[in-house]
């Protein structure tokens, strides 16, 4: 009995450890190659944007921005009204994010902690709307927007994007994780249901709200399909739309100028990536778990 156990504990680890050292090296090598393929194009974009426009298509390519040259960045400000694009994108994205956080917090709280007739059915309808692709509803939404005279305005992008099924779902899950006894205690202290929400539950739900906000920001900052349809004049374009039209207007001669615009448009997303990556990952995968 003891001999068998001894043999198992002494021989087995040695064999697996030797094997593991070798396999770890192979795995790291494969993963490193994969990350080069993922990050390489982004690094090329950054380094090319930092080279004079005449050297845009230099081969072999440079992946690291040595000797940075800012000509393309001054050019992009001249050739593209990038300030207006940034302001438009920031306005649209910011207002949608704030609007989604507010409405999703209210609705999520109602679905989690308030009792009313038809709650289950209504929540099922909210969930079901998540399955309908936006491209299917875009034609009637476009006509509605046009009918109320909002076509080719930023409001046409903002208002329809505020009600959020996914955000409501996320906030309901979040509020359900908070105990109902809190409402009881608040009521004993004489707080109205609104006060209970405002001063007890909403502050505790801030992490959940942050996820809703970050997701909304990431999605709408990068959005292309709706702005392409809803806006006509260049003064109402958002960043992705402006950059695509810049690429169409310029020949292949000034690639680095277009890429400078692309890099500038990435900065806010990078900030979110650095400070809210975890929240973003949690939000994207929320609702997919068992």
């Amino acid at each position: 009995m003891t001999t068998i156990q001894e043999r198992v504990t002494t021989t087995a680890p040695i064999v697996t450890r030797k094997k593991r050292d070798w396999s770890v090296a192979v795995r790291v090598a494969v993963l490193l190659i994969a990350s080069v393929f993922v990050l390489g194009p982004v690094l090329w974009t950054l380094s090319t944007s930092l080279r004079p426009p005449s050297e845009s298509f230099k081969l072999p390519p440079a992946f690291l921005p040595l000797n940075p040259d800012l000509t393309s960045y001054t050019q992009v400000f001249k050739q593209l009204n990038i300030v207006a694009l940034v302001v438009n994108s920031a306005l649209v994205t910011g207002l949608i994010a704030v609007g989604q956080m507010l409405t999703a917090a209210l609705a999520g709280y109602a679905f989690a902690h308030l009792r009313f007739k038809g709650r289950g059915a209504l929540f099922s309808i909210v969930l079901a709307t998540m399955m309908v692709p936006a491209q299917v509803t875009i034609v009637p939404v476009f006509m509605l927007i046009r009918g109320v005279g909002l076509s080719d305005t930023l409001l046409a992008l903002i208002i329809p994007a505020i009600p959020t099924a996914f955000g409501t779902f996320l906030m309901r899950q979040y509020f359900m994780g908070l105990p109902g006894e809190l409402a009881e205690a608040a009521a004993i202290d004489g707080a109205s249901p609104w006060r209970t929400f405002r001063s007890v539950y909403a502050p505790l739900a801030m992490p959940g709200l942050a996820i809703v906000g970050i997701l909304a920001f990431n999605f709408h900052w990068n959005e292309f399909f709706r702005p392409l349809i809803m806006t006509i004049s260049e003064q109402n374009f958002t960043l992705p739309l402006g950059l695509v039209s810049l690429q169409g207007n310029l020949g292949t001669g000034s690639i680095s100028v277009v890429l400078a615009g692309v890099v500038l448009s990435m900065i806010p997303a990078l900030v979110v990536f650095m400070f809210g990556q975890r929240a973003l990952q949690d939000g994207l995968t929320a609702g997919t778990g068992k």
Binding site: S35, V38, W44, T45, F111, A112, M131, V136, L144, I229
Partner: protein, 320 residues
């Protein structure tokens, strides 16, 4: 889930009833407030979704039976839009393109994501794991339009980095964006490049939920390396695989940004997709009825695939 919902509301309604002992006015006020209050909380979302989601769904279905160019009054045409759309060669090619795209892109995306997730999740220094996770997730924060802009330069036939790299290993320049096959390949590669990180995240989560003891038991039984993953990881991961594949397929069916920016659907119709055809017939040819008909068909396909996947899953998915 039902117990979780009933507990907080069950206790929450009690304090509303208790003050009845204190006086009639407060209890009446409390009860009135209780009745309309939930609707005040819900109103922005419910009204908004009614106007911008539910109404458009109904309108979209109705519109599919009308001919309407916005300028003149709509005329009822029955199933004409559907008949025309089904016979339209461009629409047919676009749906076929979309199906080929979905099959290839989703297979690549899931295969890549699963392989890399298994490699990242096994024994690895913590900082390396964090680095790889961040690296593979990174493209998801970029806009598909921006990605397509720089990828178009990278796949340039004469000056692009991709062909330069191929030339290093002796492969002659590939006409990526000027041939049907090349264009389709670029759209798929760019799409997978940007989206595999999402499936990767799902698989990482799924792998983390497989108990270590299962692997220990398997290795005692002599399963190692590939066999271990084939007989232990894959079956135990199947719920995650189902979710990941449903989401990947639904997203891929709606592909638009990449082909629009990379190729505008060309050359010819070789990279035109279902959503591009909706966009073009509505906003370029002003055939809103036809656009709606195509949209209804696409939605039905999405719903059918989702239902089929969940039915199939009953046979193949292994729940612990």
């Amino acid at each position: 889930m039902s117990t979780a919902t009933s507990t907080p509301t069950g206790t929450g309604s009690e304090p509303g009833r208790k003050p009845a002992h204190k006086g009639g006015t407060t209890s009446k006020r409390g009860r009135v407030q209780q009745r309309w209050l939930p609707w005040a909380f819900l109103a922005p979302t419910i009204v908004g979704m009614g106007i911008f989601t539910l109404l458009p769904i109904v309108a979209s279905i109705a519109l599919a039976f009308f001919r309407w160019d916005i300028i003149s009054a709509p005329t009822f045409v029955g199933f004409d839009n559907f008949a025309e759309v089904v016979q339209d060669p461009t629409v047919r090619v676009s749906f076929l393109n979309t199906i080929v795209f979905v099959v290839v892109a989703v297979a690549l995306q899931l295969g890549l994501a699963l392989g890399l997730a298994i490699m990242v999740q096994e024994k690895l220094p913590a900082w390396l794991r964090v680095f790889f996770r961040s690296a593979f997730f990174f493209p998801l924060i970029l806009s598909a339009a921006s990605v397509s802009i720089f990828m178009r330069y990278l796949f340039n036939e004469q000056f692009g980095v991709v062909n330069w790299m191929l030339s290093l290993v002796g492969i002659p320049a590939v006409p990526w964006l000027t041939t049907p096959g090349g264009s389709a390949a670029v759209v798929i590669l760019v799409y997978v490049w940007q989206n595999f990180g999402f499936s990767f995240l799902l698989f990482i989560g799924g792998l983390a939920s497989i108990p270590v003891e299962t692997y220990e038991a398997a290795s005692i039984d002599g399963a190692t390396g590939f066999r271990k993953h084939f007989y232990v990881t894959l079956p135990l991961l199947s719920p995650t695989t189902l979710v990941a594949s449903v989401m990947a397929i639904i997203n891929a069916l709606q592909v638009f940004d990449q082909p629009y920016v990379l190729t505008r659907g060309g050359p010819g119709d070789s990279t035109r997709t279902a959503v591009m055809v909706i966009f073009e017939s509505a906003f370029q040819r002003l055939e809103f009825g036809q656009a709606s008909a195509i949209g209804v068909i696409l939605t039905l396909i999405i719903m059918a695939i989702t239902a089929a996947q969940f039915r199939l899953s009953k046979r193949f998915v292994f729940y612990q």
